[in-house]
Symmetry: C2
Subunit: 191 residues, 2 copies
């Protein structure tokens, strides 16, 4: 998606260790107008997939999920990173390794809100090693929900995430695929 | 806001300890169409306030903040609950006591995204004791930003949050104010 690639080139920052910082418009400060265009593109990609629910993970997936949900006219469900006393006992649970925080954490969704009747689109801001997506896929599988596919804002195309998700037979669509990052320059894969 | 009150009466659940569970439409599964109406109402309330940025706190404030931002045509900024290595060193930091989790945690925003040039609307899903709002107000004050006010989805009118925030001279608007909760019945304050 040209608009997103241009924005990454304009406002993204590259740091050592393959860190791409996009927190001026994507995952700390959020340019809602840009995300709305991204939501529209996600709808175009999955228009024929019968999606009735969008699943994401807190916190930075929530904004994109909301903007996509406006086009799908369906609710979103965000997986929570720890069990709080406000969540029912009845949850599906999986474990995810966080690249950013360097640790494992539990991720839960309430059994009340996902079932074998759902066709789920999984949405997230980043795809790197794919750990978050694999966790969300596991939650859908536990619920018996059908998975339409995954829609990602920024994929790090030089990491293994896509391969690991596609190996499960799940479709992956990314709005921007970073091929390489050097100094302050980001090169995208042509789609 | 009648639409929200009706939805709380229909789908909210009351639990011992003054817990109102609205996770089927507000803070786990999210009814994006309802939140869009809430965003429109927030814009009506603060239309004349010169808001150029919406500040919220992860995770459950993000969705409402996004839907309001569509009407204000401004970016959102969400405060993060812990410092990750993807955030610049240069942050404003405050401490918030979580009623839900029963502990203190650090809340940060990058200094890059809030300054004395901003007129900020603070948005969150719940107002109870007001700890999260007071933390966000502190972050705005550190940045020298003007605060237009606070916009809340559900206020627990029998707790001290509004009083504590208004004591700082800050305007508070809540879309639904719960006056009392008994068994499964919720009574709202007439606004």
């Amino acid at each position: 998606m040209k608009l997103l690639e241009e924005r990454i080139n304009k406002d993204g920052q590259v740091f050592p260790g393959n860190i791409l910082k996009v927190d001026s418009f994507l995952n700390h400060q959020i340019d809602v107008a840009l995300l709305k265009e991204m939501g529209k593109e996600i709808k175009r990609l999955y228009a024929e997939s019968g999606v009735n629910k969008i699943l994401t993970i807190e916190a930075s997936g929530i904004a994109i999920a909301c903007m996509a949900a406006e086009y799908f006219e369906c609710p979103i469900l965000f997986a929570k990173k720890s069990k709080t006393k406000n969540i029912a006992n009845s949850v599906y649970k999986t474990q995810v390794h966080s690249f950013t925080h360097g640790k494992e954490y539990d991720v839960v969704v309430s059994k009340d809100f996902i079932s074998e009747k759902d066709t789920v689109l999984i949405v997230d801001d980043f795809l790197a090693e794919g750990n978050a997506l694999l966790g969300l896929i596991d939650l859908c599988n536990q619920a018996g929900a059908k998975i339409a596919g995954c829609a990602i804002a920024v994929e790090k195309g030089f990491q293994q995430g896509r391969e690991r998700v596609e190996a499960k037979g799940i479709r992956v669509e990314s709005l921007a695929i970073v091929e390489s990052m050097q100094d302050s320059s980001v090169t995208f894969k042509t789609q």
